[in-house]
């Protein structure tokens, strides 16, 4: 398990698109701090976090067929699925903390990390990074605000519940399907 999670961590830290997303997110957050928009900077920071989560999971399925190498190296799928989530949480935590600090709202760290893990779960299920990005961005940036505005009185489940549900679905999907 440690070995597998370490290998998954190596995958994440050597992927250029994640570093690029990270740098862009920080740059945009810092710029926006100067501009000081009405709703705060966290909604913009969340865009970067969600893209990062989707790419971290979805890059396995991009051109090149890396997912097959992953499954040949670790054919036990439940082990691989759990190692992936653990590695992502550990690698992403400092990134999300710095983002929240830059955004001026360190309290947002936990929420952003949960959003990132949920995005990764969507990326695993959808397997197509562009499509998955579309799904999570639409859901978070258009869907959620609209629902909050129009149905303010409904007692929706909290963020950890959504993330846990998404992770369970993604692990089940990952273990059952052929790749």
């Amino acid at each position: 398990m440690i070995r597998t999670a370490y290998a998954e961590g190596l995958k994440l830290v050597t992927l250029p698109s994640l570093r690029l997303t990270l740098a862009l997110t920080w740059a945009v957050v810092l710029l926006l701090r100067l501009a000081d928009p009405a709703g705060g900077v966290v909604p913009y920071a969340r865009i970067g976090t969600l893209v990062l989560g989707v790419l971290a999971a979805g890059h396995e399925y991009q051109a090149g067929g890396q997912i097959r190498t992953s499954l040949l190296a670790v054919p036990r799928r439940p082990l691989l699925a759990v190692a992936k989530i653990a590695a992502l949480a550990v690698v992403a935590a400092p990134f999300v903390l710095v983002t929240a600090l830059l955004a001026g709202e360190p309290g947002a760290t936990g929420g952003l990390l949960l959003d990132l893990l949920l995005a990764a779960a969507v990326g695993t299920v959808v397997r197509h990074p562009v499509g998955a990005t579309g799904v999570v961005l639409t859901a978070y940036e258009i869907g959620v605000p609209l629902i909050r505005t129009h149905l303010p009185d409904v007692a929706w489940p909290t963020s950890p519940v959504w993330t846990a549900a998404a992770i369970l679905i993604s692990v089940a999907t990952f273990c059952r399907r052929e790749a």
Partner: protein, 236 residues
């Protein structure tokens, strides 16, 4: 030693594999042949635990691939493509693969040297030519120095020097007592490399034996192959 026994696989309503059975023995190069769509790749995927069969079993040294704890030390596989993400360097790719099976870091440079990619190890996999991608895939298969090699079209994209290198390399591996299972469409090449031959057509094994047995009275392996798989029509 590879043992495939009564493997049947159905996808949707199509029966892709029908009681496929054969063995690939240590010390020999076994050629695995078949027309496109005959079930070659499906058989290899079942053997490697990527797909699940509805019946039968495929074993590597007596165990299912999916049960192996450090599978890369038991069997190395080269399927199509490099198996690497296009934006990762070859070295970074091999590093994570090595880490996943607890293989020493130093092994990465050894296999890069072995397949002739040392000078290009820092390049991104997406910038590799087809030939270099195949060599990276081969390097991945060799990381764990496994006693069993399973290679799908290994000379695809290699140049003549690379093809000759691969021929010698596979021969040496077999002579060391390893098991080499090799699928290919190149009958001329296979006739020079394989000791044993298994031919699959429409999901069934239609011929198996030593190269001489399979060729039989036909002038070439190509003729023997086309005669045994003629049911699919020679006109493509």
């Amino acid at each position: 030693m590879i043992t495939v026994e009564g493997v049947t696989r159905v996808r949707g309503r199509t029966r892709i594999l029908h009681e496929v059975g054969f063995t690939a023995r240590p010390g020999r190069v076994t050629g695995f042949l078949g027309p496109n769509g005959a079930g070659k790749t499906s058989t290899l995927r079942v053997l490697l635990g990527l797909d699940r069969p509805q019946a039968g079993r495929a074993l590597i040294d007596g165990r299912r691939y999916a049960e192996l704890e450090r599978p890369l030390t038991v069997a190395g596989a080269l399927l199509d493509g490099s198996g690497a993400h296009r934006s990762r360097t070859a070295r970074a790719h091999l590093r994570w693969v090595a880490a996943s099976n607890g293989l020493p870091k130093g092994r990465v440079d050894e296999v890069l040297e072995l397949v002739g990619l040392s000078a290009d190890a820092g390049k991104r996999a997406g910038r590799y030519s087809l030939g270099m991608s195949r060599r990276l895939g081969l390097a991945t298969a060799l990381l764990g120095d496994p006693p069993v090699l399973i290679l799908d079209e290994p000379v695809n994209g290699l140049d003549p020097a690379g093809i000759r290198w691969m021929r010698t390399f596979l021969r040496e591996r077999a002579d060391q007592g390893r098991t080499v299972l090799l699928s290919s469409h190149l009958m001329g090449e296979l006739a020079e490399t394989a000791d044993d031959v298994v031919i699959i057509d429409q999901g069934r094994v239609v011929s198996a034996g030593t190269l001489a047995e399979v060729v039989g009275d036909h002038p070439t392996l190509e003729d023997a192959f086309l005669a045994r798989t003629a049911s699919r029509g020679a006109a493509w």
